[in-house]
Symmetry: C2
Subunit: 139 residues, 2 copies
DNA sequence: CTAGGAGCTGGAGTCGACTCTAGGTCAACC
DNA sequence: GGTTGACCTAGAGTCGACTCCAGCTCCTAG
């Protein structure tokens, strides 16, 4: 997907992920990174490929509405290593339900919007036609 | 869908829609009801079928992530009557794009989650199998 | 050697969308 | 006629998720 680079600055990661540097630091405070970010001698964050990969997973989860506390919990479980698989599975299954619910809602909304868009397109076509044929005066 | 009733109290509407009475009043303040709600002689809100119908539409839009300001704008346009169809159409088309984007994100997330659920199910099956055959000690 | 730019921290501020409180009205039941 | 319960208003509070600020340290280019 992306080339493997040895170390990335927070700014570079921001650019890669689309998050702001603020948000990256915020996520770190919130315990959302798998391992506490390494630092260079000057105390600056150095991100590695695995951090970026993990962030990418988190972004997908966030983008589908998983709240930060749930992502933190999941992160903790992954960090804790083996023995936590059952809870991770549970968390993921719960989230899957919520994702499916959301898809359902979106489908309903899409139906509604498609219907209404159709209605308004017709209305506007009518208006265009009648004004073109001169049966309508201005406005 | 639902029987037509002459007048509903805010509590009844809350029950019908799943919104709290607080939220109903809040939405009204926010200008999200098509017509300012009628009142009985005592000053209490009396909702009619059209209010409930409109609320239902709004809920679908909200549930698909349309922000309140956009819903308010749409409401204003509907209230303003004919002549505003073009803008309504624009609003709806924009929202449709956002809905489609969200569906895409959700699909990506669902793929990820399905994959991970599969992995963890396998891991747990393995564990169960090996502990059943006695090749594993406790924990 | 200094000016700029990217990072750092701790903490404050913002924003959207509710959610609740205080203090009051009103009709109905016991 | 007192109490309950649903409703009213104005305004305050909460919560999640950022987003920004002040004041500092480094490094690099001019």
């Amino acid at each position: 997907m992306s080339e493997v680079v040895p170390g990335l600055s927070i700014g570079e990661v921001a650019e890669h992920t689309g998050l702001s540097v603020h948000t990256l630091r915020f996520y770190e405070r919130e315990g959302i990174l798998a391992n506490p970010v390494r630092r260079d001698p000057g105390g600056r964050r150095v991100y590695h490929q695995d951090d970026v990969d993990w962030l990418t997973v988190c972004l997908i989860l966030r983008g589908s509405g998983m709240p930060l506390p749930a992502i933190r919990r999941y992160t903790e479980l992954v960090r804790a290593g083996s023995g936590t698989e059952a809870e991770r599975l549970m968390l993921l299954r719960e989230h899957r339900e919520r994702v499916l619910d959301q898809m359902d809602q979106l489908r309903k909304c899409l139906d509604l919007v498609n219907f209404k868009v159709g209605v308004y397109e017709d209305v506007l076509d009518q208006l265009a036609a009648s004004s073109a044929s001169g049966t309508d005066i201005g406005r």
